[in-house]
Symmetry: C2
C-alpha cells in the first residue's frame, strides 16, 4: 500500500476531551473521529486494526467449532419482554419505535434473538452442542460515555452463545471458549489475565473476565504469584487475617476523639496502627408488600477493619440483603444509634440493628470503634466481653495486596486491568424464560443450558494502546498493527536510486504477504518518522541516498532505541526473519 | 468444512408469507430467518454468501482507489438537520431519542456523516480526490417490507462517497466507480445491465443503476440491442413516433361512445387502432404564499396516445410542475371541462387549462379524443384546424418496446431488472448545505463536488437467486456460492473406502483453497442431494462403494442434467480444471 493512496491524518495535539492516553493517541494518530458523545467513526487506519482483531477472533472461534451468523441490530421488543430485560434494563437499552409505533431495541447483546433461533432450530439432542456467534455493531446508551472506545456507546462486539444438553456438556463448551480466548489474546500479543468473576444474581455457574493488564485499567485484578489463582476484586475471597481471636488484654475505655470521624484520624490521634480500628457502615433493607409499599425496614451495621474497604458485591450476597439494600438515612441512623455518622459502633445501640462482622473483624481483640457518642470512640473493645458476638460473620471486604491467597498457596497481589472479554456459563436463565427446549433421547423436552461469550472488538484497540505506548505514540503488537512494516524513503521523488530501492522492497514484502506501507507522501524525514511512531507501526526501514552509497538501509523496531544499518541486498531477508521470530 | 461442524437447516415448504422465489428459496435453504417484518437474521449458510459478496466488492473498491472506513449506525440528528433530510425524509428514516432526549437517526445512508468527515479532514486541493466507503448495517423503515431481503428494513449496504475539486475530476471519479461496479457484478457472475437513471430534483449530473436481469424484477429496463443505449423507464427518452404531422383527411365529428370511457373501449367500438386515440390526464399545480396557503391553481391537460402511459418523472420536469403536482379534483375537472372523467379532451373547454401534448400526440392527425360531453368522443381531430396547437410539446410518456432508440441506432426493447447498485454524481448538493469546502491553489475556499455509490449487499443474494434458480432450488454463480464444491459420500460411516476417498478429496480441495463442504451428516442420498441442490452448490462429487469398485466417482454440475463418471484418481484435477475455466 502506498501512503498516498491511503488516508493518513495525524494531529500534534489531542482534543481537550480526550482524558486517557489511548483516547488521545487514537485521536492524534487518526484512528477514530468523534461523531457524538461515545459515537465514533473508525477512520481507515483504525479500521485496519479492527479487521485484524476481527480476523484473529473469527479464526479462533471457528477453530473452536463456533459457527458465525449475523443477527440484526434492530430487534423486536417482544423477545426482550419474554426475558424481562425490556423492563429490567434501564436507559442503557436504546429503544426505538417504528412507523407503526412498534417497540424495538437497538441491540446491546443478542441473548434473546439467539435463543429464539435456537428454540426454533435446535430441536433434538442430536443437534447439540451448538455455538453461534456474530461480530456486529452494538449500542449501549452509557450515562457518561468517555475514554474514547473504552466506554463508548456504539461499539463492535463479538458475542457467542453456546447451547448444550446439560451442565456437564455446557462446562465443556465453556472450557473450549475459555481456551479459544486465551489463544485469541495471545495471538494479539497482549499481556492479559483470565480472572474468575462473580456470576451475579442470575444464577450463572462460572464466569471469567479476560483483562488486559494496564496501569490505567478501571478494574482491579487480584492474583497470586505463587499459584494460578486470579479473580476480580468483586469475587476474590478475603480470608481472615487473624486466625484466632486473642484474649482481651485491655480494658474497655471511652476515649475522647474530638473531630476525628475517620479511622485514620482516630488511629493517628491514639497513636495506634490503623489495623486496630474498626469501621462502621450502616445499610438498610426494605421489605415491601405486593403493592410496593415498605412494610418493614431492617437496619444493618457492617464492620470492616479500618484499613479495609467494604465489598458491595459480597454484601449483596448476604442472606437478607440479596433482594437489595441501600445506605441508611440520617434519620434511621440517629434513631438506631443515637449519634451522627463518624462515631458509630456496635456498643450501646438505641434500637436493635443486625450486626455483620467481616471475618477479620470477628477475630480482632482490643480494637477501637465508635462509641455512638459524638467525638468519642471506645478503645480496648472485645467481642463477648464488651458486646455480644456478631449476628453474622462473613467475607464482606475487598482483598488487599499481601492478603493470603484463598488457595493457601501464597499471597495476593493486585494489578489494574481492562476487561476485553468475558465468558459466562449462563445455565438456563434465558432458555427457561423463552422455553428453549430440545427433545432428549427419551423424547422428553429439556431446557438447553447456555453460555455466552463476549469480546469487545473496538475496546481491544484502546486496551492494546493503554498497554503498549511510549512518549512518541502507540507501539502496536505486530499481529494487530495497522501495517507491519513501513518503508520510509528519503527523497522518493528526487532520487531514482531511493525510489527504486523503496519500490523493490515494498514489492518484495507485499508479495511475501507482509502488510507494508510505503510512505511516498513526500513529507520531511522528521515529520514522516514522527507520524509512523505515533501510528505505532512495529517495523521501519529508512532508505536514503546517503545509506545506499554504502549499500545500506536503516532498520528500526518501534521499541528500539536506535536504528540498525542493514545491507540493502539483505533487508528483505532480515525483515522476514524478524517477522517470523 | 465438514457439514456436521456447520449448521444446515432446510425446509420442505417455504413459509406462507414468502411471495417471490428468492424469498422462498432463501427461507427453505436456511439462508435467512425472519425476526420481524423486514428484519432477518443471516444464518451461517447465508452469511457465507454475504462474505463472498462483500469481499468481491471490497477488492474492487480498493483496486479503484476507494478507502474503507466505518461510520456509525446511530447518527446525531444535527447533521441530518444541516442538509434538511431530517425533515424531508418521512417515516422511512428511523429516529430514536437517547437517554438525554437527543435525537438520532438510524442510518439509511451516510452522506451527512461522510461530508462532516470530509469538511474536517480534506482541507486542501492536494488531498483531493478522495473516495471513502464503508460496508455497514442500514435501516429503512419501509411502509410495506416484503420479498425477503429484496425490500427489507435492516440490510447491509456498501456506500461510497467521492470528493473532488471540480466537476471534471468528479466525472473521472464517477467513471472509475462505474467501471468498478461493472467488474464487481461481472466477477459475481451475474447478468446485469447498467442503465442511465434520472438524476432527480437534487441537481445531480449523472446517474446509473446497475440492474440484475430477472423476469421477476420490479424495474423496467429499456435497452437497444443495436447500440449500447440503456436507461430505466423513468429516464428513457421517447422520441416522436410520427416524424411529421400529416394533413387532415377526416372531418371533425362528435361521435356517441356511450359507456366507453377508456381509449381501448372507444377504439374497439369505432373499430380503429388504439394508436388513433388520445388519452387525457388532468393534473393541477398549486402556487402557495409564504404562509403555505394556495393562492393560485393551474389545471393541466396532458395528452398521450391511447396505447401509451404517462411518465410521472418526465412530467415532474415540465416548467411549472417542477415544484410538485397532483391529480385534479373532481370539482376542478367539472369546473374546467364541464364533464366527468372518461370523456375529457382539449376541445371546448369551459375555463382555460394548460395543454401539454406528448411529442407523438403533437404530430398526430385525424385522432380521437374525449368531447367534454359524457358518452361522446370527437373523431377526426386535427391540430390547428379543430383546436390550437398545444401550449407545450414534450416527452411525457413511457417508452414501449419497439420504439426507435433515441440514439437513432435501432429499436428499444424492455426487460425486467432488480436494482443492486447505483452510482450518482451528486454535485454540490451536500457540500453546499454542510459548507464542505477545500482551499484551491489560490487559497480560496471551493465547494467539494461529490458522488455517491451504493451496492445493496444483502439484496444481491435475492437478485442472484431470482436470476439463477430452477425447480430444485438455487443455482449460485460459483463466485458467491456458499460452498464451491460439495463432496457427498454415500455410506461415509459404513465404508472405509468411501470415507478415505471422501476425506482425501476434501483435503486436496481445501489445500488448493477451493471452498468445499464434505457432507458427513449421514443423510440418505436422496435427502442429501436434495439439500445441496436446494442450497445451490455449483459442483457436486458423489463417492460411493459402487463407483469406487470401478475406480470412479460421479461429478455433476448444478446445471447439468446428469452425472458424469470421473476416475477417482483424476477427480481433483478434473475439478481444478472446471473451476479455473
Amino acid at each position: 500500500m502506498k501512503a498516498s493512496q491511503f488516508f493518513i491524518s495525524t494531529l500534534k495535539e489531542a482534543p481537550a476531551d480526550a482524558e486517557i492516553v489511548s483516547h488521545k493517541l487514537m485521536m492524534r494518530a487518526g484512528f477514530i473521529k468523534r461523531l457524538g458523545a461515545g459515537i465514533y467513526s473508525y477512520m481507515p487506519m483504525g479500521l485496519r486494526v479492527i479487521r485484524k482483531v476481527e480476523n484473529i477472533i473469527r479464526e479462533e472461534m471457528n477453530r473452536a467449532g463456533a459457527i458465525e451468523l449475523l443477527m440484526p441490530v434492530v430487534q423486536p421488543a417482544e423477545l426482550w419482554q419474554e426475558t424481562g430485560r425490556w423492563d429490567k434494563m434501564g436507559p442503557e437499552l436504546l429503544r426505538v419505535k417504528d412507523r407503526h409505533e412498534r417497540d424495538f431495541a437497538i441491540q446491546p447483546t443478542s441473548e434473546e434473538v439467539v435463543t429464539d433461533i435456537a428454540r426454533q432450530e435446535l430441536r433434538s439432542y442430536r443437534q447439540l452442542p451448538k455455538n453461534f456467534y456474530h461480530i456486529q455493531t452494538k449500542f449501549r446508551d452509557e450515562r457518561r460515555p468517555r475514554f474514547g472506545v473504552m466506554r463508548g456507546r456504539e461499539f463492535t462486539m463479538k458475542d457467542a452463545y453456546s447451547f448444550d444438553r446439560d451442565f456437564e456438556s455446557a462446562h465443556k463448551s465453556y472450557d473450549a471458549m475459555y481456551a479459544a480466548y486465551v489463544r485469541i489474546f495471545e495471538r494479539m500479543g497482549l499481556r492479559f489475565r483470565a480472572v474468575a468473576a462473580d456470576t451475579g444474581a442470575i444464577g450463572g455457574q462460572a464466569s471469567h473476565e479476560f483483562q488486559v493488564i494496564a496501569d490505567t485499567g478501571e478494574d482491579a485484578i487480584i492474583y497470586c504469584e505463587q499459584s494460578d489463582y486470579a479473580a476480580n476484586i468483586e469475587l476474590a475471597e478475603a480470608v481472615p487475617l487473624i486466625a484466632q481471636r486473642a484474649a482481651p488484654s485491655l480494658p474497655l475505655a471511652k476515649t475522647p476523639t474530638p473531630g476525628k470521624s475517620t479511622c485514620r484520624d482516630v488511629a493517628d490521634l491514639l497513636q495506634l496502627p490503623l489495623a486496630r480500628t474498626v469501621k462502621s457502615l450502616v445499610l438498610a433493607s426494605d421489605e415491601k408488600n405486593e403493592a410496593g409499599d415498605v412494610v418493614k425496614t431492617i437496619v444493618w451495621l457492617l464492620l470492616v477493619r479500618g484499613d479495609h474497604d467494604l465489598n458491595e458485591v459480597k454484601t449483596g450476597k448476604l442472606e437478607g440483603l440479596k433482594a437489595g439494600f441501600r445506605f441508611a438515612t440520617g434519620a434511621e441512623i440517629e434513631d438506631h444509634f443515637g449519634c451522627k455518622p463518624g462515631y458509630l459502633g456496635p456498643i450501646g445501640l438505641k434500637k436493635p440493628v443486625k450486626i455483620v462482622a467481616d471475618r477479620t473483624v470477628a477475630n480482632m481483640s482490643d480494637f477501637v470503634c465508635g462509641a455512638n457518642d459524638a467525638d468519642f470512640h471506645y478503645t480496648g473493645v472485645n467481642w463477648g466481653r464488651d458486646l455480644p458476638l456478631p449476628d453474622v460473620v462473613a467475607d464482606i471486604r475487598n482483598v488487599v495486596a499481601g492478603d493470603p491467597s484463598p488457595d493457601g498457596k501464597g499471597v495476593l497481589a493486585i494489578q489494574r486491568g481492562i476487561e476485553v472479554g468475558h465468558v459466562f456459563l449462563l445455565g438456563t436463565r434465558y432458555s427457561k424464560d423463552m422455553n428453549a427446549t430440545y427433545l432428549d433421547e427419551a423424547g422428553k423436552p429439556q431446557l438447553m443450558v447456555m453460555g455466552c461469550y463476549g469480546i469487545g472488538v473496538t475496546r481491544i484497540l484502546g486496551a492494546a494502546i493503554e498497554q503498549n505506548h511510549d512518549e512518541r505514540g502507540i507501539v502496536w503488537p505486530a499481529a494487530i498493527a495497522p501495517f507491519t512494516v513501513v518503508v520510509c524513503p528519503i527523497g522518493y521523488d528526487r532520487s531514482a536510486d531511493v525510489k527504486a530501492a523503496a519500490d523493490r522492497l515494498h514489492e518484495q514484502l507485499a508479495e511475501a504477504g507482509i502488510d507494508t506501507v510505503l510512505d511516498d507522501r513526500g513529507e520531511r524525514p522528521g515529520a514522516m518518522f514522527a507520524d509512523w511512531e505515533l501510528i505505532g507501526v512495529p517495523h521501519r526501514v529508512v532508505i536514503s541516498d546517503r545509506g545506499l552509497k554504502d549499500g545500506k538501509v536503516e532498520y528500526q523496531g518501534r521499541r528500539d532505541a536506535e536504528a540498525t544499518p542493514v545491507a540493502e541486498a539483505e533487508v528483505f531477508g532480515f525483515l522476514r526473519e524478524k517477522l517470523s521470530a
